[in-house]
């Protein structure tokens, strides 16, 4: 496992500590069970990959972790505290520490890029309009889009939208960054640059990163740990470092997935 990034905000650099835990989680749409008996934990400062074949419920798992969908059974724990059992107000407090980057960017199309990033700041801070604008400029500069503040999402490319989505996700300096298919629809170079950006931000912000993806290049280059969801068995079949899984897993399906069926 790679060296844990030292958290910029806490002095405790002693050993890995568990940031997020998923315990015995069952997800369902109505009576259709998507996945059941999911149990895994994510270390603080890790980049954790949720992988699996199409339709296995990766994005659904993410939606359960960030509070968009309530689990049928089981728990999601943040620093040991049960997210779904908490009061709605406390749950909102948890959610404030999440940053989420959506598969289709999900930028608000009637707002400029700067306004997209400013909205969470307006909601959660007492900063003045000028201060918020300055922060939004900084976030855009961090994702390499300085000067594009007054553009509308429809006026920029898909790759740029992805980066703005990331800038919006880090607007409130979150402890946990969630990504749903960050490299979907990007060319290999942009996708690689985005991976680097995620790594840089993780290292400098000290955030825990959870990524849903099936891009093997990303999985191997930035993943510290992972969970593999099986669509047919409807449960997780492995958890661990993706490279180790590739080299040591005896499950033929995981092996095929991680080697693109070539080995």
């Amino acid at each position: 496992m790679s060296a844990l990034a030292e958290s910029a905000t806490t002095a405790t650099a002693s050993g890995p500590d568990v940031h997020i835990q998923v315990k015995d989680l069952t997800m369902a749409y109505g009576s259709f069970i998507v996945q059941q008996d999911l149990t895994f934990s994510i270390q603080r400062g890790n980049i954790f990959i949720i992988m699996g074949d199409s339709g296995c419920g990766k994005s659904t798992l993410l939606r359960h972790m960030i509070g968009l969908k309530r689990p049928v059974k089981g728990q999601v724990l943040y620093e040991g505290k049960d997210f779904w059992a908490a009061e709605p107000l406390r749950r909102k407090g948890f959610m404030r520490s999440f940053g989420m980057s959506y598969q289709g960017s999900a930028l608000w199309s009637s707002m400029t890029l700067a306004e997209n990033i400013a909205l969470p700041l307006q909601e959660y801070t007492d900063l003045s309009a000028a201060d918020i604008r300055e922060l939004a400029q900084l976030k855009l500069a961090l994702v390499g889009l300085a000067g594009f503040e007054d553009y509308y999402p429809a006026e920029i490319s898909g790759g740029m939208m992805k980066r703005v989505g990331l800038a919006r996700a880090i607007a409130l300096d979150p402890d946990i960054l969630y990504f749903d298919e960050p490299s979907a629809g990007l060319d290999p170079i942009s996708s690689r640059l985005l991976d680097d950006l995620i790594l840089e931000l993780r290292d400098s912000l000290g955030a825990t990163v959870v990524i849903v993806t099936h891009e093997l290049a990303s999985i191997f280059s930035i993943g510290d740990n992972s969970v593999f969801l099986d669509a047919e068995k409807r449960t997780m079949t492995a958890t661990g470092n993706p490279k180790q899984l590739r080299d040591t897993s005896t499950d033929p399906k995981i092996h095929r997935f991680l080697t693109r069926g070539e080995a």
Binding site: T125, A154, D173
Partner: protein, 377 residues
């Protein structure tokens, strides 16, 4: 959490400044000021280098970054070197990231001042542009109709049937309710005047001819503009946002034939039928008032109506209805097809569809009334 950050400026070496950052630089109320630094530099003009000491800093977030970005900008302006080595690793990396991609010179937008005359000119040009666009759309719609008559238009008949159902059958309730109420209003206002002449009986004429010639078609047209025109604009606008219309065009399928034509046909077919239905309910509304308030018998009222309303009046109403159908469909589809690519553009398209639909109906009514008058119909 209170903001508890502190900043200390001190001379370091012959021409250096050391900035000592202490406390918690997580800020929720106001970003740190850079004014003290500028004051310090004003009073120490020989400063050539800035360094940092952050060993006593307990925490930081983007607020510190914005402060450091300002410091860097001030330093660059005064040609002062900035030594970042005293900052936490993460901060150094982020600062590097923030400056890694320089701002593209042509990216930023400058809002230039536009003079009043120029604004009027721009508006005028925009109106002319819109008019040309709308006429082109109308032309395309006509060509599309011609292709339909030659049997060459490409669309799915199931779409047409579905639209017929949505614009026709599903509008029966609201059309009935509004027409009935309009009938009641006409009867009340009419009777209040006619009673002075002892001619209350002629309420039936007034309501019957009023509904058949004008009000039936007009009220149905306005309902259709609000209900169906807006729906057309929103549907086509959303398809525009999702690139669904582009997907059709690249397949070589004309959006005009595939999307606009069935909607126009549905409205053109349904408007006259709905208008007849509205006429009926308007007359029933008049009947209801006459019987309950003005002591006119049902048979008398119906007989009077039958004498007053002849086929000519009904045909005038139906002609108007067909025209309104075309106008509402064209307004709705036009706004949808030329919709921008954002959620607010879809809202704007739906609004414009309703407003322009109703406006067109009123203008058309004025023209048709004059024409029918001249022709003596």
């Amino acid at each position: 959490m209170e903001d508890s950050y502190q900043l200390k400026l001190a001379i370091a070496g012959p021409d250096g400044l050391q900035i000592t950052l202490t406390g918690n630089w997580k800020v929720r109320h106001a970003l740190p000021e850079s004014a003290p630094l500028e004051d310090w530099l004003d009073s120490h003009p020989g400063t050539k280098q800035i360094s940092f000491d952050s060993t006593a800093m307990s925490g930081w977030d983007s607020a510190l970054l914005t402060f450091l970005v300002r410091v860097t900008a001030i330093a660059a302006k005064n040609t002062i070197q900035v030594d970042q080595s005293g900052l936490p690793d993460g901060v150094q990396k982020l600062l590097h990231l923030a400056s890694a991609v320089p701002e593209r010179g042509d990216a930023r937008r400058t809002a230039g001042k536009v003079s009043f005359l120029a604004r009027i000119g721009n508006q005028g040009m925009a109106v002319a542009g819109t008019a040309t666009e709308a006429l082109a759309f109308l032309g395309e719609a006509a060509l599309s109709l011609a292709r339909l008559l030659r049997g060459k238009a490409q669309f799915r008949w199931s779409d047409l049937l579905l639209t017929l159902q949505q614009t026709g059958a599903q509008a029966l309730g609201i059309v009935a309710l509004i027409s009935f109420l309009v009938g009641i209003i006409l009867a009340y206002i009419g009777a209040a005047q006619l009673v002075n002449f002892g001619a209350t009986m002629y309420v039936a004429d007034l309501v019957g001819i009023g509904m058949a010639r004008a009000m039936g078609a007009m009220m149905t047209g306005i309902i259709m503009a609000g209900r169906t025109g807006a729906a057309f604009a929103a549907q086509l606008g959303t398809m525009q946002v999702n690139e669904e219309i582009d997907a059709l065009e690249t397949l070589g399928i004309s959006a005009m034939d595939f999307l606009v034509l069935p909607r126009m046909l549905a409205l053109i077919l349904m408007m006259p039928l709905l208008t007849l239905y509205a006429d009926l309910f308007g007359i029933l509304g008049g009947l209801f008032v006459s019987v309950t308030t003005f002591d006119i018998g049902i048979i008398e009222y119906l007989h009077r109506t039958q004498e007053a309303v002849n086929i000519r009046h009904v045909m005038v109403g139906l002609t108007e209805a067909s025209v309104y159908g075309v106008l509402v469909a064209v307004a709705g589809c036009y706004q949808g097809i030329k919709c921008g690519r954002s959620s607010s553009a879809v809202g704007a398209a739906a609004t414009s569809a309703v407003v322009s639909g109703i406006l067109l109906i009123v203008i058309a009514t004025a023209f048709l009334t004059v024409i029918f008058n001249v022709l003596g119909i």
